[in-house]
Symmetry: C2
Subunit: 175 residues, 2 copies
């Protein structure tokens, strides 16, 4: 089954990394479905049934977003709150995410070296992303960790972005 990528970026057109990732993913429409939340729901009103059926008709699930304030964009949080419902995502009859491979694809403004326990911000990106990991655990999904690009605030080179794009697709293919 195809992999579903929920790509959430409040301004994808001006993004450094996410735009390039989406562009590349779209070349392989037999392998991936790229679902751009801000494009599909510009008013933020999410069609819950549509989203649930979209997930059900796919295999692996990837949440792609830029890390702002050490967290996801608000629309992705709304999507989680709206779509991951009792009786669907969890509860005795809520098995739609059970054993489903779930991973994150994120870009971080901050450098890798600053995301460490003895770094400037005290915590690793893995630690910062615990809410998403814990959500997957709660839904009995098979959390496959995350792929990250670090340092978008520091003008990454075209070759760095290209390498990340290939690495990201490899990560998805092997998650």
């Amino acid at each position: 089954m195809k992999t579903l990528i929920i790509a959430t970026h409040p301004s994808l057109e001006t993004s450094v990394v996410n735009k390039r990732w989406v562009e590349e993913l779209k070349k392989y429409s037999k392998k991936y479905t790229v679902h751009e939340l801000h494009k599909v729901y510009p008013d933020g009103n999410i069609d819950v049934e549509r989203e649930q059926k979209l997930i059900e008709s796919h295999g692996n699930l990837v949440l792609q977003f830029p890390v702002y304030w050490f967290n996801c964009p608000p629309l992705l949080k709304k999507w989680l709150d709206d779509v991951f419902l009792y009786g669907w995502a969890y509860g005795s009859k809520g098995d739609k995410l059970k054993n489903r491979k779930v991973a994150l694809g994120v870009s971080a403004g901050i450098k890798n070296v600053d995301y460490s326990e003895d770094g400037r911000y005290h915590y690793t990106l893995e630690q910062v992303l615990r809410p998403f990991e814990t959500t997957a655990i709660y839904c009995k999904a098979d959390y496959r960790s995350f792929f990250a690009f670090y340092g978008t605030e520091f003008e990454p080179s075209a070759s760095e972005i290209e390498k990340s794009t290939q690495d990201y697709l490899n990560f998805i293919d092997n998650m």
Copy 2:
């Protein structure tokens, strides 16, 4: 200076704990300003300048919310993204949160015992709330941790809620 409480709950009227906390906080309007985000911004369009001036005219800052999917409601995340701007919250001239005491007041559906490293969901609430702690660190605020009520999904008694209300106000007064 008064303490500003940013109270964010998508359905405060039907809430178990947050509603009671807000009700009690409002009794002491000389000590606290309760700013109910969903009431002030039902359409989600945040007046950034107003919010920044509100914070500037207060001392301590408390973010109050129910923990859904191990994270804050989407409107609070939008508020953080919109209000905590470069040049105001961070950057060489962004000092408006510097040394300001910041804390969280949260309700969690899950029981305390399940929020542990050997518990059902592997992580403590402290670990789950790292994005907010890290945001405070980034803005050089004085993060004063959080007050939590656990187990809202398990029909807490009126006396438990009352005790939490007094404990929460004590926490704020001593943060």
